[in-house]
Symmetry: D2
Subunit: 148 residues, 4 copies
């Protein structure tokens, strides 16, 4: 993570992921985003399962995806994920999904609110917030971030 | 239910349900089976949400599907469901999925065990068992049931 | 459609739609959006399957969802859909998903580009464009549209 | 493959895979079976994408799963796959899904028919059949195969 702008995770496209156009169904990229942020959080020492075990949920309050190109069965895509912002009770991840040649397929972001077991908003716990804050990646002026 | 051998539920095929062959992905029929048995149980006066609210789970212990023909996007299929068997802690549903012309696409069955909130097997509650028992449909010798 | 601001479609929440929080997984709302726009287009006389049969694809180029409240298994939600904009080769749908009490769960939009079978952008065919244009619903200033 | 009875593939359980019981939805194991057989075929030198590129489909004609235990979010399961049988136009895969401790979660099998692009049954191409035949694993008398 330290040197790299983005955290990267590979996902192999399953037959199940495709639709009758022969490419990944648009909604499935939100699952790929989930995998990307789960692996990023694991690498930061906060597997999401442990965050929930500690009594916190990071529920999605907003999701956005822009689709530039398609990808089909058995391709291996890379989900690039970074933490773009953190506030007291919310945080934002940015994503880019690229194909094996590095071509941008989809960019997007999700915003999450920190909730307690009663599903009331609470401050992100301090140890988690510290790690998140250290790992915020500055927005660059590149392609997919222009219009964020 | 009384006169009819099978309970019937309609499902419209979504783009999401299809795969790159242009037809419903094989695993999605298990979701259609779920819809079929949920609607059957609702019609019997035992919506599955209430069964769970009463502290019982009918977890799947076996699922089987045989595939005879495909169906594509925007078709409306009928899921035909019946209760085929009941024991103290388990029960079995049979299914047939047919297209708009009545052609058999998929047949199958699921077996369910009744569990308590600790996920231990328990007897099916008496009021539910009574209704189930009354609604067992005799196996006919037709096409898809020959080899059950 | 004529009198109503939104086209409405009902969807029953399946067990398959839920996740371990006990509510609909965030990505599944993009499937519900698909159902909403498919039923709207059917009611306008242009079932999406026929649009594709005529050699056009309306591929998603952008999807957005904002999540306000959760909904669980067996609830019946209403997907409200309207055409918000049309250009030469693209169009936009807006959505609101509400629960049985009318409470807003999710709002969102999708943008679609019209492609030919070679997946090149083409003008929306004139008969389709005419119907779409007639059915554009003005943006109101209500809750979920404020920040569109 | 040579020494091992089963081909093995790891799958990390996604939030998307779980349902409101907190465990993997029963139908999703058919997707895991897909991943298992795809990776087995890749290791045998016949990635399924290439089989389709050569004009053959191995469509599922039967799927079966028996459920022994549950697994939740973020667990890593192993899908064990073997080729159990081959005939002129059909073949059968067996599966076991086990958790990190090796506990059996689900066993099952799928049967596939070889079809040409017109979706008519055809003989499995000779080079593929030869490799399949060499890699048939004898049925053992162990736990999940007893009742096959």
């Amino acid at each position: 993570m330290a040197e790299s702008e983005w955290h990267e995770t590979q996902i192999r496209i399953r037959y199940k992921d495709t639709d009758r156009m022969g490419v990944v169904y648009y909604g499935n990229y939100l699952t790929f985003f989930e995998v990307g942020r789960a692996e990023l959080m694991r690498d930061l020492g906060f597997p999401y399962a442990e965050i929930e075990a500690d009594g916190y949920f990071l529920v999605v309050t907003e999701a956005n995806a822009k689709y530039y190109a398609n990808v089909g069965y058995d391709s291996e895509v890379t989900v690039k994920t970074k933490i773009a912002k953190v506030k007291n009770v919310s945080m934002r991840f940015n994503y880019e999904v690229v194909d094996e040649a590095g071509k941008l397929l989809v960019s997007g972001h999700t915003v999450h609110a920190c909730l307690n077991p009663d599903l009331k908003p609470v401050r992100i716990p301090p140890d988690l917030k510290e790690v998140i804050t250290k790992n915020i990646k500055p927005e660059n002026k590149s392609r997919s971030n222009l219009d964020y």
